[in-house]
Amino acid sequence: MSIKLDVELAGLRLRNPTILASGILGISKKILERVAKSGAGAVTTKSITVKPRGGHNNPIFIQSTKETFLNAVGYSNPGLKAAKKEFEDLSDFPIPVIGSLVGEDAEEFAYLAENIKEIGFKAIEIVLSCPHTPGYGLLGGHGTPEATKEITSAVRKKTKLPLFVKLSPNVMNLGEVAKAAEKAGADAITAVNTLGPGMVIDVETAKPILGFKVGGLSGPALKPIAMRCVYDIYKAVKIPIIGVGGIITGKDAVEMMMAGASAVGIGTGVYYRGMNIFKEVCDEIEEFLESHGYSNVKKIIGLAHRD
């Protein structure tokens, strides 16, 4: 049996459902190319802001327990102008590159969307969900249905690209937030960003370890929470979902797709399995499909919602 792994995502065709999540590695075109060679179906850039940002002091990323990491990168990135240069020519890029954008308000988001037009991004992801950067995401009040609607609408007006809205697992009424995004013109939901934030205190010095003291939680332990979020969102909206959070194995990906995801984002998994995780997860998905008599990965999407 030949197993089909390609999926469709808001008009994009992905050779397989694995996507490099935003913030991991995505600093340059060249490193994203390496991730593409490692088997990803699509890649996401680090989030781009209008102005360059150095981000928080180090440590910006630590392991809080065996299965959790905390990060408070603080959206370090060289800014819109540098991003346009970095990604100016994506014509030879083998898979879709998703441009992650983050602003402080609807206006800034819209400005970014309008100004990245020259870049060959195949989709835009707007991030309304960071739990650890003042002025942005949850700390900017972006987690509510109202703010989501406002920002998504503003961006929608400025771009024809497929528009993904990235949500936070902290919000309880996630279905409503997703609905607000859908109504405002989003083409897909990315769920979820990091959780929390959390904190680790060094007991020798009684000091929080992260430079920003608190950071968003990612890694294997995030999976059960992300799973519920995707499950809830699938019930609430018709647009496709990219399930992100603790995906490490093909089995995790299968579970996430059964919850309702059309594709899965992988971030912290790169720590546990290296860059080859994309290829390995695909192989494992394929094995699962084969041994369970599915000919096509699309057949498992949302399966957990059947009675």
Binding site: S28, K46, F61, Q63, N77, P78, D202, T268
Partner: protein, 256 residues
């Protein structure tokens, strides 16, 4: 676990007017070239090469605000250590040459200690006499040391790269190991290529996570922290950004 282990400073040795070695009450095993992330609790965290492994020691040169604060630390103060990270220099053959520029001598002195069984020639470059350190340490393990200063205040006046060229005109080495300013390392590599000599260089880029996830330290499609920091000739020859630009804390390109 990727989290700093907080250790007490057991002793501090002044190497020169702007350089100190800090020893901790701990043994580690490391390859020369591997590095640690060193956390000043509540302040910041930056990369430093393993300088000694038993007891663990790091050697710090003053550059900017972090190193200035680090150099103020005293016996009994506490620092967080993660690592060792990255790969290390690999021993190749029986006659090797080290080319150190400035604080590039730190991992190379540790290398000499680890590889002491082979014939080592060391070229040690510094701006001026006062900037030199670890020359005595190197003497224990090297059969020949060539000191080079920009101003001639100690040893030969000139650049370490000139000395390397002179040597390679007359002799063959199985491998040249280099660490120092990237422009110097690039020249060392070019000279080695010219003389058909294998080279290993330890590169530096702005580092944050140290374990290959954040992407901050990339050069081309390589993560210095995880795939490096040490690269051999074959790898170096593929790097289009080597000697051209690095990235700052935001990821912005800064040309050399």
């Amino acid at each position: 676990m990727e989290i700093p282990e907080v250790l007490e400073i057991k002793s501090v040795i002044k190497e020169n007017y702007k350089t100190k070695t800090f020893f901790f009450n701990k043994k580690i095993e490391a390859e020369p070239g591997q590095f640690l992330m060193v956390w000043i609790p509540g302040i910041d965290e930056k990369p430093f090469a393993v300088s000694f492994e038993n007891p663990l020691g790091i050697t710090v040169g003053r550059v900017g605000s972090f190193t200035t604060q680090l150099l103020k630390m005293k016996k009994g103060d506490k620092l967080g250590i993660r690592g060792p990270y990255g790969n290390g220099f690999k021993l190749k053959g029986k006659e090797i040459c080290l080319v150190a520029g400035g604080r590039g001598i730190i991992p190379l002195a540790f290398l000499a200690e680890k590889f002491k069984k082979v014939d080592i020639t060391a070229i040690v470059g510094a701006n001026t006499k006062d900037d030199l350190f670890f020359v005595k340490r190197l003497k224990k393990y090297c059969f020949r040391i060539i000191v080079v200063t920009d101003d001639g205040s100690s040893g030969i006046k000139g650049f370490p790269t000139d000395s390397l060229k002179d040597l390679l005109e007359k002799e063959k080495f199985d491998c040249v190991y280099t660490c120092g300013p990237e422009i110097m390392m690039k020249k060392v590599f070019d000279i080695c290529e010219n003389y058909n000599t294998e080279c290993q260089a330890s590169l530096e880029r702005y580092m944050k996570c140290g374990f290959g996830l954040c992407g901050q330290c990339c050069i081309d499609d390589i993560r210095i922290c995880k795939d490096g920091p040490v690269f051999n000739s074959k790898q170096l020859s593929k790097l289009t950004e080597f000697g051209v630009f690095e990235r700052d804390k935001s990821g912005k390109k800064v040309y050399f």
